[in-house]
């Protein structure tokens, strides 16, 4: 097991000197022959993502409600101005940050712990790993409903029943701690994902290095901090990066568990967008949310992209 940044992806045109004819040295005709296989996919993705995005920007300057025929009129920056004062949007941004950070941090820590166990000498490793990845593979809508009704329901759920001796019976978890519940269900789903990636990192460790550390008298904690952790760091970064790109878009479990509520307590950006676009049919406002979401993504991605570049090393080596 190797990770890209270390030795994985040969740089795009790199190593190419001797291996691949470099892109720069080809004739125009050859250049088009090379481009041809790329075009269908490129054109398709371009058409379905970039043109709608341009339209989103356009609509964001208009006041337009689908439920009010003839309401289409230029509104300038009004949609953006109302975003700033809108409580729904403000709590959606905050909830998105809280949800994403909590889910990623907790599932990385748990995933690391489980991966460490699965990487040591234990009985039934293969079976453990197989069972462990199940939460990630279960349909998220299905998983959320199983948690909501059969595990957490105060009357019929299994958890309140088991927690009764501890004085925690009949607690309405979703009603009283909606965000904690959503985070817990998402952690349940993303820990296996982190575990898989980190385990791959642990397995790429050279056992001789660990043995050498042991011989030199390093204790378990020292070995973990000085050898294991630096070794798996790129894998943790990769997991956290990919994971947060997905968790930011969480929609299924919020729809199923809390429907964004109570109030706006668990409304994140995707759910707010859904409310504005498909419950309010406010096209202008929804488009403005879309533009702002893209700007936020670009800001975050600019930082994340550096990590991305190092991990995947798509840039030619210097």
């Amino acid at each position: 097991m190797k990770i890209a940044g270390r030795s994985i992806l040969p740089p795009v045109a790199g190593r190419g000197g001797e291996r691949v004819q470099t892109a720069a040295s080809v004739s125009r005709r050859e250049a088009w022959a090379r481009r041809l296989p790329l075009l269908p996919a490129f054109v398709y993705v371009f058409l379905v993502t970039q043109i709608p995005f341009a339209l989103t920007i356009y609509y964001s300057f208009f006041s337009w409600n689908l439920l009010k025929p003839g309401s289409f009129r230029f509104a300038g920056l009004q949609n953006y101005a109302s975003l700033l004062t809108d409580d729904l949007v403000r709590s959606a941004v905050l909830n998105t940050v809280v949800l994403t950070v909590c889910v990623i941090v907790i599932s990385v820590v748990l995933g690391l712990a489980v991966a460490m166990i699965l990487n040591s000498e234990v009985f039934g490793k293969g079976v453990m790993r197989t069972l462990m990845i199940a939460p990630f593979l279960i349909m998220p809508t299905a998983g959320a409903l199983i948690w909501k009704h059969t595990l957490l329901n105060p009357l019929y759920g299994l958890l309140p029943y088991f927690l009764t001796p501890l004085g925690l019976g009949r607690v309405d978890w979703i009603g009283r701690f909606p965000m904690v519940t959503v985070i817990a269900v998402e952690v349940w789903r993303w820990t296996p994902f982190m575990m898989l990636i980190i385990l791959a990192g642990l397995q790429s460790q050279n056992p001789e290095v660990l043995e050498a550390a042991r011989v030199d008298g390093a204790n378990a904690l020292q070995t973990f901090r000085r050898i294991t952790l630096p070794m798996v760091r790129p894998f943790i970064e990769l997991g956290a990066l990919l994971g947060s790109l997905f968790v930011v878009q969480t929609y299924d479990s919020i729809y199923m568990l809390t429907y964004g509520g109570p109030g706006t307590d668990t409304t994140n950006i995707p759910f707010a967008l859904y409310l504005v676009a498909f419950q309010g049919f406010n096209i202008g406002q929804a488009s403005a949310i879309g533009v702002v979401a893209v700007i936020i993504t670009i800001i975050v991605a600019t930082f994340a992209l550096r990590t991305f570049f190092t991990i995947f090393q798509v840039e030619p080596r210097r």
């Binding site: 489980v114 299924d252 798509v314």
Partner: protein, 274 residues
């Protein structure tokens, strides 16, 4: 003595590991258990833990209105996955074997579209689908799922193509093989695991997709997760039916992921972890 200590710590660690793993697996197990109960057993207080399993709930779900949802899911996932392979493989070839100019830019263009929030294009896509009478039409879902998965497919297939020794292509060229021939005779057989990994990832994301499914379809083209929306309120306490439908809906991805665990890691990391 040392062996004994080592053995003891192995047992202890195994025990801790199994407890943790079973905690994570338990909701899945409980879903299966609930699906094998009768309705009164599934929603009882206190919960029914020992019972005689019955398949009657599955029978009821399968003979009811669930199958069309499942079939829609299958059609949307399989067709969009095939489209990803057909469009993605030549694109990956053009980014790996005989690279086009500005290959990095193209790669990052692709991946940026995957991680663009759906807010970016949702409204115009919805209006377009509405005007083309494609709302509640499986073709709209197929087109969207192809868009979502194509960037992943291109990245992933490219990572597999880079592993093919370049000499093979040189040899084929000398023999005068056409592009199409090269793809079919050299590329496809050599990157069979890559095709499997790509299909698996596409299947996972399109099968489980909910946002577009719930907002772009209502009845005719609705997929399996939409069937589950009917259980949101929990009114009527159809827990066994919910669990059976949830089990059936999750089955294809669960089985595929379990069978292809190695491809799963590589696919989820876009080929970065081998």
């Amino acid at each position: 003595m040392a062996a004994l200590v080592a053995n003891r710590s192995k047992v202890l660690l195994s025990l801790v590991g199994w407890v943790v793993v079973l905690v994570f697996f338990f909701p899945v197990l409980w879903m299966w258990m609930e699906s094998l109960k009768t309705e009164p057993q599934a929603a009882s207080s206190p919960p029914t833990i020992f019972f005689v399993p019955t398949l009657s709930t599955f029978q009821e779900v399968l003979s009811g209105d669930f199958p069309p949802f499942f079939i829609n899911s299958a059609v949307a996932s399989i067709v969009s996955t095939l489209l990803v392979l057909v469009l993605g493989l030549p694109a990956a070839y053009a980014l790996a074997i005989r690279p086009v100019k500005r290959t990095q830019d193209v790669l990052f263009f692709f991946i940026s579209t995957r991680f663009l929030p759906f807010a970016a294009s949702l409204v115009p896509l919805y209006l377009l689908a509405r005007d083309l009478q494609l709302l509640d039409n499986i073709f709209a879902l197929i087109a969207i799922y192809t868009t979502i998965n194509l960037p992943l497919g291109v990245w992933l297939l490219r990572s597999f193509l880079l592993e093919i020794p370049h000499d093979l292509f040189e040899a084929a060229r000398v023999d005068g093989a056409s592009f199409f021939n090269e793809i079919v005779r050299i590329v496809v057989p050599l990157i069979a695991p890559g095709l499997a990994a790509t299909s698996l990832i596409c299947l996972i994301f399109s099968w489980n997709e909910f946002f577009y499914a719930v907002n772009f379809t209502s009845s005719v083209a609705a997929t399996a997760p939409i069937f589950l929306v009917g259980f949101i309120s929990g009114r009527g306490l159809f827990y066994a039916k919910l669990a059976a439908a949830a089990t059936l809906s999750s089955l294809p991805v669960l089985l595929a992921g379990w069978i292809a665990q190695k491809q799963l890691i590589r696919g989820l990391t876009l080929g970065a972890v081998k």
